[in-house]
């Protein structure tokens, strides 16, 4: 520029254009890596989606609990009493079923 014609106005530093170009690339890669998690957290929709996912997981968990396999089997055909009665002879079974309530001995 015309203001300083008789003087060396270039920068006195040693970094070459090639070096600076590589440095710029390095900085870009590092910046993307560092900015990614921040950006993901900064997105408002991220919180919305995360909240819905957590709520859905809790709802499914509550619905499925307790596990089916451990719930009591209420069907009449396969109750332990039926199994027990089936193992008795007809006479024994009749005695138990027809046992008069008043005749139940006191145990305690």
């Amino acid at each position: 520029m015309k203001e300083f014609e008789n003087i060396q106005t270039g920068l006195p530093y040693k970094e070459s254009p090639d070096y600076v170009e590589q440095l710029v690339k390095r900085c870009q890669d590092a910046a993307v890596e560092e900015a990614m998690p921040e950006r993901r957290i900064a997105r408002p929709w991220f919180y919305g989606v995360a909240s819905v996912a957590v709520a859905a997981a809790i709802a499914v968990g509550v619905f499925l609990w307790p596990p089916r396999s451990s719930s009591p089997d209420l069907s009449l055909t396969s109750s332990p009493m039926d199994t027990f009665l089936a193992s008795l002879s007809d006479e024994e079974a009749a005695m138990i079923v027809d046992w008069p309530i008043d005749d139940i001995p006191e145990c305690y």
Partner: protein, 167 residues
């Protein structure tokens, strides 16, 4: 919505080196310039949504200038102005210069370090980056008239400094 990755690719390809040298001229230290450049890229990436689409160049220079000033501010003590770093920056020019650097080039940079921060920014953007005043105004937030004045006084001060040091 702008794609941050795409914007950053364009910025690094078109303005990457220029942004580095702009920061370097302000903070002088290569190490600090590298850190400030990376911070600039992070800001460009994360704030891509806020880019209004006027001038990508001015927007990037604005972020880079702010990062450079923040780097300088970290070197100051409480209540110290950025201009109080001028002497330190002038000494740093010598430390950072290549061993075979032209003496007048070193002196020229030291002369620039005597300017106020505002004058230095205006001078660098006009003299080295050859940006028009309306662009510099968009970057610094100062009026074009005040930037012209800053540049004029900067040139006078540099000439005076060089004369004092027999160049």
């Amino acid at each position: 919505m702008h794609n941050p990755q795409r914007i950053l690719d364009i910025v690094t390809r078109q303005y990457g080196s220029r942004l580095y040298w702009h920061i370097r001229r302000l903070v002088v230290s290569h190490h600090d310039a590298e850190d400030a450049l990376q911070e600039t890229f992070i800001k460009i990436f994360t704030k891509a949504d806020t880019f209004k689409g006027d001038s990508l160049e001015a927007w990037c220079y604005k972020i880079a200038t702010n990062e450079a000033l923040m780097t300088l501010r970290r070197r100051t003590h409480a209540f110290q102005s950025l201009d109080s770093l001028n002497g330190e920056l002038a000494n740093l020019v010598v430390t950072e210069s290549a061993p075979d650097a032209d003496r007048s080039a070193v002196l020229f940079q030291q002369a620039i370090m005597q300017l106020s921060t505002q004058q230095r920014i205006a001078f660098n953007l006009r003299y080295y980056d050859e940006l028009p005043y309306d662009q510099i105004s968009a970057i610094t937030g100062k009026s074009e008239g005040s930037l012209r004045t800053n540049y004029h006084y900067a040139v006078e001060k540099i000439k005076e400094y060089l004369k004092e040091h027999a160049i």
